[in-house]
Symmetry: C2
Subunit: 263 residues, 2 copies
């Protein structure tokens, strides 16, 4: 059986790769540096891409939201991952020798209490990627890195502590593709005409059709002050009659409407 090509955030062992493994049974990964590169890769022919869209502590991933507007790709799946961080070190480094902890700023921030309790004197070193930090410390004495357990295993590190984050957090990842998906949830993006009460009218269209919104997020359009783009997820497939009816009825109220797909 042929493997499925999936572009994810690199290097090996990122949370994006961990998320992708939950979706694809026989993945062949292509690693990229940014969400933009992942969208580019899928746009140029890779069958699937997986990108983070929202973390419960950090909020939305702005570059992913921008790419959803910019690229003509579909969302065909999603997965929510519990973010479990571990502290790992090279095989020759003992717990007591650790004087430097290296990781992404967000991961260091999310393990503040753990670090100040267990390694109050450690120097904290920022890295742009948790997985890349793991990949660099194997032969560095006195160094430990914070990141996914899967990544520690890939880079042959010892896992010294697991689940060291101060508070639980989750990240939602989406699968993007050129092909249409199929499922009971639909995502759209729209900009509203500049008329009083227009958002209310759009929400009324959904309410009148008994369609429940699971997400509504608005962001400045980055074109004009006071102009917003709405990212809306709702329960229902585009194949349902009532979803089709709502899409038709809100068309008149928007200056921009993009269907990201059902999944």
């Amino acid at each position: 059986m042929n493997k499925t090509q999936v572009t994810v955030l690199g290097p090996k062992g990122t949370f994006t790769e961990v998320a992708a493994r939950k979706i694809f049974s026989e993945p062949e990964f292509i690693y990229c540096d940014t969400p933009y590169d992942i969208f580019d890769s899928v746009n140029s022919g890779t069958e699937y891409g997986v990108v983070a869209i929202e973390n419960s502590l950090e909020g939305s991933v702005n570059s992913t939201m921008d790419c959803l507007i910019e690229y003509d790709l579909k969302i065909i799946g999603e997965v929510v991952l519990d973010i479990n961080l571990c502290l790992a070190a090279g095989p020759r480094t003992d717990k007591k020798e650790i004087n430097t902890i290296i990781s992404h700023t967000h991961a260091l921030a999310q393990c503040k209490k753990f670090i100040s309790k267990n390694f109050p004197d450690a120097r904290l070193q920022r890295h742009e990627s948790t997985a890349a930090a793991m990949g660099e410390i194997k032969n560095l004495c006195g160094f430990a890195a914070i990141g996914p357990k899967e990544s520690a295993e890939i880079y042959h590190l010892k896992v010294l502590y697991e689940d060291i984050q101060d508070a639980p957090s989750q990240t939602r990842f989406i699968v993007i593709s050129k092909k249409e998906g199929n499922g009971k949830k639909t995502s759209i993006i729209f900009a509203l005409k500049d008329e009083p009460g227009i958002l209310y009218q759009v929400l009324k269209d959904f309410a009148d059709s008994s369609i429940n919104l699971t997400k509504i997020e608005s962001r400045p359009s980055k074109k004009k002050l006071g102009e917003y783009l709405f990212f809306v997820d709702f329960e229902g497939s585009l194949k349902d009659k009532k979803a089709g009816y709502v899409i038709d009825s809100i068309k008149d109220k928007t200056t921009y409407l993009k269907i990201l797909g059902s999944y």
Copy 2:
């Protein structure tokens, strides 16, 4: 007459200072490094603070939005500024000698076309502040900086080109204070109860009272996936009966409601 103490983003000559001068006739400025520091300063007793909240090209200023949630301060005014960027150099640097252009990443990005047309071979150097970049180049041969004209004047630079941004952009600034403001526009933040159609019900309350929303922006709560905070501006003062009525009626539909004030 006593001068009015106003905390703004430093160093001298930032766009925040330019905005503040449009509001206060006799300001005495206190300079801080971040929006957090400005909120802290006002919280600790400085009468007023001015912070950027949204730029038409870059979108919302996340740290300002976070501070509005975190601090118990009021919005008492706003001003929208056209962002005009200029290229300036030390008095002894000639246009033809410029080999390095230094500025904030956003400003360099906003002047991409100008730079590639006029200085295709210049090295671009990133700085965390346009004003600070201006402050550093006076005696550096071959250096030019991009930033506010006001800042070029403060640091005794020659303005070589004005209005060099590729596209017009505007930034909205707000004035924060411990005291209540007064005016015809009101800002609130709320989180909704987890019930189907609840946002629709809230917007219906506004529509039924003929109150027009001028802004609705939602952001992930950073606590739980799928939970959002809504930043809403509406036409009307809290002193108006109908605004009071709407606030009362939406209280039942929210898990969190913060009144930022009328201005």
